[in-house]
Amino acid sequence: MRRLKQAWELVMDFREGIEDPVEHVFNVFEAIRRWEARVNAYISLESPDLIVEEVERIARGINAGEKVGKLAGLLVSVKDNICTSFLPTTAGSRMLDPYIPPYDATVVKRLLEEDAIVVGKANLDEFAMGSTTELSAFGPTRNPWDLERVPGGSSGGSAASLAYGGSDLSLGSDTGGSARLPAAYTATVGLKPTYGLVSRYGLIPYGNSLEQISPMARSVRDVALLLDVIGGWDPLDATSLRVDKPRTFTTSKADPSKVTVCVVKELSEGAEDVIERAYWRILKKLESEGVELREEKLPVASKALPAYYTIAFAEAASNLARYDGVFYPTKGGGSTWEEEVELARMKGFGREVKKRILMGVYALSEGYRDEYYIAATKVRRVVRDEVSRISRSCIIASQVSPILPPRLGERLDDPLKLYAMDVYTVIANLAGAPALVQPIEFYNGLPIGIQWIGKPLGEGSSYP
């Protein structure tokens, strides 16, 4: 693949007249034309005419020396579980095909205020439930690095669009690793922000207490640029933190000798050899630059995966109750209300979604709630305490996935293996802590990434 410019470089080049934003748009269109049919990163694309019209307006502004937004002229793909009033928002489900929300998500508003252009809505596992982007009602997304393989999920469309140059920046979402796993599998960067740093208003919920809209890009700097635009308190989201807009883009790189990295045993073992070797190579390199390495233990980690899935399924079962054939496009055609609800849900939801609803209902049922849901929330508390204890003095280095990107269909047969792909990533969601994934190496043409878990609101402070 040709070297793709980073978004922050583009912003500078547009401003200095080195690159023409209109020409850039046509480059992106060309990438989409060449790749999209094979990759299927998008569920819907904005009309090229509208995009051109918009970028011409922005280009005129730049040329006239007017003040333009921080993202002026950049093309952003938006995961299709984030509401847009100008493009359908399906959450990858037949249930919402085609649903056009009457409002924009807060993050989308903030993008548009900074003159970003939404190029299209990115593919995802249905309602963000999956780790491979194979479970979309609109067909799987393929990994641009190897079209036989998955791009990870559930924000696979976002990651793939970045990887092949079909967007400059992307918004994903991350409930248990949904932005970070695809980043690792596509050699892009994904940040799951501190819980509450980015407004969830307009994010179609899967696991409300775990998930964050996540900036994704081709570099850490780009992710910082995007985070600064979308982050900060939103009065429309009661779980959003009362903090100022983040300013991570201008943070300078930390002095290695002042950085401590914690190698948490439970988050660094158990992956395929090639991944473990790559992990240690980067850590040793950092150590040689002066970074201090320290070992830590997180014994509760073994309980994190079941706790995570219990909470996520319980919340999902509740969140998905609203799809009953009344407001949304998939109708049951039943002759009574009960029948209508049953048929609409039968037709509208895919298998994985139904499975998760059933498990969530089970976990919340009278008589089982204590054993499952309540027990899981207790594990969450321990994870939160432990992670915040460790991250107070260091950045946690962790694997992202135990395996390299699997082939399409490879993991689907065994749900436990599928869920196990999230073993390293769910910790940050349970803890509410920020976690960033960036690429470190390639093995046989397949990307390998590393994950850094920081302290709450530690975004931008000190990634090595």
Binding site: I82, P102, N208, F327, W337
Partner: protein
Amino acid sequence: MKVTIGLEIHVQMSEAGSKLFCNCKADYRGLNVNTNVCPVCLGLPGALPVVSKRSVELALATSLALKCEIPKFIVFTRKHYFYPDLPKNYQISMIERAGGVPICRNGVISFLDPSRWEWKSCRIRRVNIEEDPGRTVYEEGGITGSPYALVDYNRSGVPLLEIVTEPDIETPRDARLLVEYLLLTLEYLGVTNPRLEGVFRVDANISLDGGERVEVKNIGSIADVEKALNYEILRQSKIREAGGVIERETRHWDPVRGVTRPLRHKEYEEEYLYFPDPDLPPIAITEEMVKGALKIAVEADLQALLSELLKHNIPPEHAWSIVSTKPALDLFKKVVSLGGDPQVVARMLAVDYKGELREQGKDPYDPSNWPPPDTILELSKLTLTGVYPYDTIKGLIIPNLVSNPLARLETLVPEKAGDLDLVVEEVLREEVRAVKDYLEGKTQALNYLVGRVIKKIGRKAVDPRIIRGLLEKRIKAGAPRT
């Protein structure tokens, strides 16, 4: 026979301004269907609830008024059930399961039996804040026969208080009095307007002599609380007399026929999947919030308001009549603070003015149907100076004032007797024949004379009874002076 009654009262916080979780209006009445809605109260995917501060403040004031234990923080929970008028298919409430924390636990309400002037009390188990669902309208055939249903979401998300009592109530009458007193308290708190259509519903649990309890749902008026429970006592007694056993069940109050009917039996245990709403973090109840709510609660202490009135030696029934009509109390306080005699003012407002409002079919709870304090002050002074007999004020001035509360007093007050004397003399001089007729026993001649006097006075309001009295007195006293 020992009767045990517990109540569950749902009251809309119609005066809270906004809905519980969005900026749509709390009082949706009179709006076109489905116009008082937004992504939040329609439960659209991605829209998030944000708790209205005012609702929490008012609920907190209610909890203080009910002497509840106030929690350190409150936690909203989701209660799941599928229903067309519940757009998310879950209701956000505060059920105490899986970590839900209501705004009030273990309170008590003291309520008045005004006709016996007896105070009673009932423990309050808890008070929840929750959202009202939308409204389903069935076409002909009702819920079972209608081929379709229409849903209006204007009500969806309106803040509700769910007030649950312990089963401490012993008679249907007490149940009614409790509800009446509670609603009045909520009105004084500025929580609700109890007279709005559908603003509250009562569910009542009743058991006789320790038998199984029966729940009666859907009681929508204060009077029906007593009626429904009396009906239930009668129904259950009959079954027992015939040797039957009361089974635990839920029944529906039919206000038109005045009977309770069994609801369809549920084939399965209800499963609501309660858990704390992850979109709504716990809300801390700070000291500052309690202080603010206390200010509201103090103003709504009916017991204190009543004893304030009783201090002025106002008859208890007048005091209750005033307190139970908030605009009357507001007016009373103002007039007394301006120097009005409390007893006279109380009688004037509680008995005469309020009675005349009812007579003329005007709403006593609408402040605009009451005159400004100055008018009442002047009237009460007139009474005390004896210029007019109280009957004149009651029979003549107050009816006119009720028709036009903003009228200036001068235009309502009849001519003073002194001025009238001259007119009467004049008429007697002119109408010698009529006087003669009257003296000869033609009593209707007096009516004619009264008419002449009224005509001469012109448009000013005079009580004809006064004129009649004057004429009679004068004629009996002898021929007019010439």
